[in-house]
């Protein structure tokens, strides 16, 4: 994230300095403006969902949802505590139902449970990010709405290809994440004795 951010900012600012230096500042302000707008609209959504989630937490609805998916998530996210698995189940269910706005606060809570407080994110955290960033959703309601509004003959005929495409992207993401996790474990195992030798 650090490298990506640095590259985007520096390259864009250099180009703007050459082509239109007077716009650089106003462009940055426009970005911040959009952030305020987005944050406020999301606050409304988070307020409603976190309030409902809090009641679900206290009632035990979470545990009921978790029981449905627990066997699956226990295997995917090895070594995570019960609470983390609960939030992961809720995040996944909300995503499936197309309630992305509800899925986000639950996902953040799952991340908090998985956090070990170190500098580097754990493999489980990254796997969870990859699953969320590749989208798991049964019905892309927004896009169908846009097609219907534009006068499509069969606005919903994208459901099946979308589902297959999102399954493929998630499968590719999970496979790659698992590969990278295994590779970094191997590297760490190899690097340690080497570092030990060097320090001697």
């Amino acid at each position: 994230m650090n490298a990506v951010f640095f590259f985007m900012l520096v390259s864009a600012l250099i180009v703007l300095t050459i082509t239109a230096p007077e716009t650089a500042f106003s462009v940055m302000l426009a970005g911040a403006d959009k952030a305020v707008e987005l944050a406020l609209s999301l606050f409304a959504v988070y307020a409603v969902w976190l309030a409902v989630l809090e009641i679900m937490d206290k009632t035990g609805v979470n545990r009921a949802v978790n029981r449905l998916f627990a066997p699956l998530w226990k295997r995917v996210f090895k070594g995570e505590n019960e609470k983390a698995l609960e939030y992961i189940s809720l995040n996944f269910s909300a995503n499936l139902l197309g309630m992305g706005a509800a899925a986000t606060p639950m996902g953040i809570k799952a991340m908090e449970q998985m956090s070990r407080g170190g500098e580097k994110a754990t493999d489980n955290m990254l796997l969870f990010l990859v699953i969320n960033a590749t989208s798991v959703q049964l019905i892309p309601a927004t896009v169908i709405g846009m097609r219907a509004a534009a006068g499509s003959q069969s606005a919903s005929d994208i459901i099946v290809p979308s589902l297959v495409a999102t399954l493929i992207s998630t499968a590719v993401g999970v496979a790659l994440a698992k590969l990278c996790a295994a590779a970094s474990k191997k590297l760490a195992g190899r690097a340690l004795p080497l570092a030990g030798r060097l320090s001697r």
Binding site: A30, A47, L50, V143, A165
Partner: protein, 166 residues
Amino acid sequence: MSAYILPLFIVGVLIAGFAVRVPVYGSFVSGVKQALQLLLSVMPYFCAVLIAVELFTASGLAEKTQVALAPLLNALGIPPELAQLVVIRPLSGSGSTAVLRELIQTYGADSRIARCGCVMVGASETTFYVAAVYFSTVKERKLRYAIPVCLIASLAGAVAACALVR
């Protein structure tokens, strides 16, 4: 049908909470408090990501990336008309919606281009936004391999989208 699910779900949660004597009002308020804290921790990341994206598009670099990627995308079976969407999709949710709307208007809602674009958007997420938000409240800052993995996976989804839509 799906319009009923959401209100019914919330009614169900409220009744279940009341039945097992959860302080519904107090819990609700404490949930909103968490939302307020969440807003405070997420806000700086929104600013950073959105300023970067705004600069990236305004400077014309987004367009250059898209021109540079077009041959590669074409080789993967993604029509050049969709290159812009592929580039903007992981960066900005509202941006990709705008691009998709334009595609639908230009080529028609039932054209292959528009349908490919719809599947692409429907089957993917705003990668950078998700990464920033999900890690906004934890200490971990190094995402190691996550961003490249997400981007490659999204590209695989886009390739699949164009292969699936005839």
